[in-house]
Symmetry: C2
Subunit: 245 residues, 2 copies
DNA sequence: CGGACGTGTTGCTCATAGCGCAACAGACTA
DNA sequence: TAGTCTGTTGCGCTATGAGCAACACGTCCG
């Protein structure tokens, strides 16, 4: 991070910092503090205003931080907390089960994996981080569907002969009651998975923690035992990010 | 707000929005979504990273929103909240005391008034909004000095024969213990005032609420009773903006 | 294990976007 | 009403931002 920057963006950020420190400020005062011409300050403010990061305060000509930064912070806080707080639990689960553990969040109708801990037995395996996965064909997706964090697509795609493409066969009520969901070769042949719901501070399901591995190791017989472990881990992560039941 | 913008700032803000929506994202994915070259996306990210608004997530090459946006939002929330949340309390105090109520925040060594409610007895009086007032000669300023939100100037100016220009005579420790500060004709002949501290969510004093009026109405004998009312009002405002003791 | 592939990062060059100047419009005050 | 101050806009110039291409590094697969 040497000189790889963009001067106008640096200046825009400096404006945000000044407004954070000083509160509502005039264009010309900002220009003085930035050591730029007032028309430059004005145009940077206009760009920031268009993006919602600043707004004009009640007094004419005064600008202050806008609600856009509060929105961004809300997203940042959610993302920072979940990855960080789930890490120790995922490490433990990966060790206990011996397979790969992922955290997935709902996004645009899919389950998106945001972090991963490889199991000790994983020689190579798939890197799921950042990958979108279909809700109906993954255990995380099924959890998010069952607890209302995601909606089932109108026409669920088929990935393997085992993929369930009808809503009734997903057994979402049973997942809700049991507290964990499974997939048995529904996304990829030879891949099984279990997932459990993570709740946020308002009690709604905001993510899922899952274990996935090859069918020959993560057999259908193992799934209930692993499901119970995952549900316990999910409860702990939920509490770590502010859920009190 | 027509075309008065700055393209690179627009792009930087678009990056922040994408990261808020998608979470940790790759440089090349951002470049695709922005329809710019990846080196452009990279440099915009580098600028945002230098400003603390984004950071690299644990996975190499992925960027996410950083703690800087949380800091900015904290400042934005405090500023938006203070004027709004203090309003009902100020209205009530002005009615109860019969004099003019102001909110002042610390800024560049002065106490700056950010809002005002006129008392029922105020025929004309001074409009203090937006006005900087010297810390040592106003009740709000003395509160902000006493609780560490402002520093006393090296050579405090004299405004009236009653102005206290020596640090020892301000009795800041007594103000801290008592919970309110007074001025008796120290800024203007014929003007008295009382102020109490407003605390933010981290417990530090971020503002002061004051009552001011003519000496013949707001007499020194009335000041303790008004001080207690103000301290109560300040406590309520503090709680409204997130202070929990 | 080595090669292929993909992605982040850096250096260079060019042209256009950003910047500063100057003028205009509006608000306020003596 | 004239002067002053500040926000906003138009114009022209050049420095900065953008894109190309190469390099460095990590991952994956045969």
């Amino acid at each position: 991070m040497s000189n790889t920057s963009v001067q106008s963006v640096d200046r825009a950020i400096a404006i945000l910092e000044i407004l954070a420190r000083e509160g509502a400020t005039r264009v010309t005062d900002l220009a003085v503090q930035l050591d730029v011409h007032k028309s430059t300050a004005f145009r940077l403010l206009a760009a920031l205003e268009q993006g919602g990061l600043v707004e004009q305060s009640g007094d004419r000509g005064r600008y202050r931080l806008g609600f856009g930064v509060v929105r961004l912070a809300g997203a940042a806080t959610a993302q920072l907390d979940l990855s960080k707080e789930s890490r120790p639990v995922c490490l433990r689960l990966a060790e206990a089960v011996g397979e790969t553990v992922n955290i997935a969040v709902p996004q645009d109708g899919d389950a998106v994996n945001i972090s991963q801990v490889r199991g000790p037995a994983a020689i190579s395996g798939h890197n799921w981080v950042g990958q979108r996965t279909p809700s109906h064909a993954t255990s995380s997706g099924k959890v998010l569907l069952a607890f209302g964090a995601l909606r089932l697509p109108a026409e669920p795609a088929r990935y393997t002969p085992s993929t369930l493409t009808e809503a009734g066969r997903l057994r979402l009520a049973e997942i809700r009651e049991r507290g964990w969901a499974t997939t048995v070769e529904e996304l990829e042949v030879g891949l099984n998975a279990v997932a459990a719901p993570i709740r946020g501070s308002d009690g709604s399901v905001v993510a899922a923690v899952s274990v996935s591995g090859p069918s020959y190791r993560l057999t259908p017989e193992r799934l209930p035992e692993v499901g119970a472990l995952l549900a316990e881990g999910a409860r702990e992560i939920s509490q770590r990010i502010g859920y009190y039941r």
